[in-house]
Amino acid sequence: MATIAAAPPYTTAASEYSNTGLWSWLTTVDHKRIGALYLVTSLIFFVIGGLEAFLIRAQLAVPNGQVLSADMYNQLFTMHGTTMVFLAIMPLSAAFFNYLIPLQIGARDVAFPRLNAFSYWIYLLGGIFITVPIFFAVAPDGGWFGYAPLSTRQYSPQINMDFWVLGLQILGISSLAASFNFITTIINMRAPGMHLMRMPIFTWMSFVVQFLVALAFPVITVALVFLQFDRFFGTNFYAIGAGADPLLWQHLFWVFGHPEVYILILPAFGLVSEVLPTFSRKPLFGYPVMVYSGILIGFLGFGVWAHHMFSVGMGPIADAVFALTTMLIAIPTGVKIFNWLATMWDGQLRFTVAMKFAVALVGMFTIGGISGVMHSSPPADLQQTDTYFIVAHFHYVLFGGSMFGLFAGLYYYFPKFSGRFMSEKLGEWHFWLSLIGMNLTFFPMHFAGLLGMPRRTYQYDAGQGIELFNLLSTIGTLVLMLGTLFGLINLWKSWKSGERASSNPWGAPTIEWAIPSPPPEHNFDELPNITSRYPLWDLKGTVIAKPTTVEEEAGFVQKTAKQLHIPMPNPSILPLVTAAGVLFMFSGMLFTDSNIKLAIGIMITGAVWWIGALYTWLMTPLEDAH
């Protein structure tokens, strides 16, 4: 194998635009660089969310903990959930959408490169907007699902929930813009021959996710608009005294919130479906069934929302219907599990770190899925709802599922991103500490929950039989943090000095592995002509391709887009300027109660700012005339 000092696998002539320096990152419209921005930003938020979780666990380590005030505790669990869902897992998935979708379908970029940059900047600015208040102890404190009327001005009079309402509105813009972009990209930018049923399974799952985003986010947007109007303009949407339905928020939120669950897990499923075949040296078992089950999960995901609300007394008919749909949705999910097992069955398994994370997802998600389908029965759910049992369940699917899948994807695709391997040695530490830490943290929560420990409780008394479980969970959190630290060190060291990787270091089957690592800015010198589902395996004449090595590729010189006469979009600062204007406009809303003139002034300035930037953007051609 090549050493660290070995020559890079290929050289490239100087690019038309500088690829280094802050300005190049602020103006980039390259989907691969935007993917890298998403990756780094979401990992920073993942660390922040993890530290919030650690403080929560420190408070709960022993009975009647005194680490935090009750108010701070509320802020921390609210921000932990909000950060992990909206600022860590979704954008980490978006990093993979950005990087991989154009490569997997054989496109040179997404359909709207500047809109893509805009999505990222909105996400970054919205993330900062919603995160900064925690450092001043005025963070949102109404729980990550912000139930109204609790979150209305009457019960949450402070500025805390204003940050949450406005922050989620801002983040919604990012997700929606990205979903329109990716749907268009996947429908219309596929290379010749890339029929829908030849698309790599990650792109397929991402495709389903984009539809979920496009259809679910408007619903929470409306719920948030109502809450915003209630808080700032005194409307009555959640005012029980005026006859409002106390369940309106819950219905609207979960009509969004349950598809959101699949928005969080399907990208990880897609990544694992890429990793398992490569390291089993076998095609994915039941590709069409995997596609259809993903689509079915997407459809059914819109029909199960009220299983979050069994305890509110919807009546036997509603309870029965939502219990049935919830049991139904376990079927396509279970089908995926069995297909993964069948993919590995009798394969030539190679347990790299990526493979270990992927296999761990299959196991851990199954545990989370089984405890999940237990809640589909309303009588059982009445015992479990709002207890630590639920907390255990959704951490198994979100950490053991989503995060493990995303880590598997990170180890698998890092050589493609960077041209370097991640260290397997550090990766082993990352994996085993994460696996042990995760189970140590979340498994005891099942018991604490069934013994009646409510979630979001600030303190608990001794002598209820839950001390040991809580102490174990807290110790587990430390192990988990140590594991994550290994992962981050690995990422940093590998980026700087990892072992060089060739174009197809794993012997993988899909077309993103046919181009150099890292890919040139235009991705493909010529648009590929796709003839099968696994082109690199079928092309070789043998069924399974061997991994390529750096030596084989030494001396290859990659031509630039300019040399190949491929028109590429120009860098533009306008997406960032527009996003900043949007943020400025929203932040004016914060002053509505304290200083209405200032508020209106900021909002009008912000509106003029972003509308002006948007017009400039639309009037500037994407690429030079050719």
Binding site: N188, P192, A214, N504, A514, L527
Partner: protein, 231 residues
Amino acid sequence: MTATTLPAPDAAADGHGHGGGHYTTLGLDNRKIAIWTFIGSECMLFASLISTYLIYKGRSIKGPFPHEPWTEPVTGKVFPAILDIPVTSASTFVLLMSSFAMVLALAAVQNKQLPKHTLGDKILGSSKLWLWVTCLMGVMFLGFQAFEFTAFIREGLTIRTNLFGSSFFTLTGFHGAHVAVGVCWLFSLLAIDYKRGLQPSDATNVDIAALYWHFVDVIWIVIFTLVYLIK
């Protein structure tokens, strides 16, 4: 060499083939697919707003009400039914007709190059005329809405008064905001038309504006039926 060579591409299908524009899978412009996706998403936005209006219909504990008069218990003051269906029918007609003008505007841009012999050809082929008509009808609809809102506020119904007020003003206000965005969009196209003349190559840009405009129009038909016509 890279390790793997994919099959040679079809020359005409490459990203920068002889046909000029970029290759797309369906042969459709990306913007058209994006606007349809956006419209799908907007359907969920209005579905949520309309559902909330319907859920809250009849749940207001005090008036004024949309379809029946209300007597304030303390003062004995009588508030008449607040919706003015004849006026809104007129504004609905204006908005529907604007979609007709929009279709003619798009056709005029698409057929810009065709020779115009008669006065009728010239009128039908004037993209400026039909864009103006569409814009002005949009502005007229907004004028009707402004009149309606001020009349309601004068009669004692604001966004804070009751559930009906909150859900009514938010729903129709969101729709009005969409019309306003559409009017700005169309005026922008008009400005381009005056500056350099819209050409058939601009047809997609006009087309997506038209799709948006028709969508906003269709949504109004739903709102008009559910909010105004059904008691």
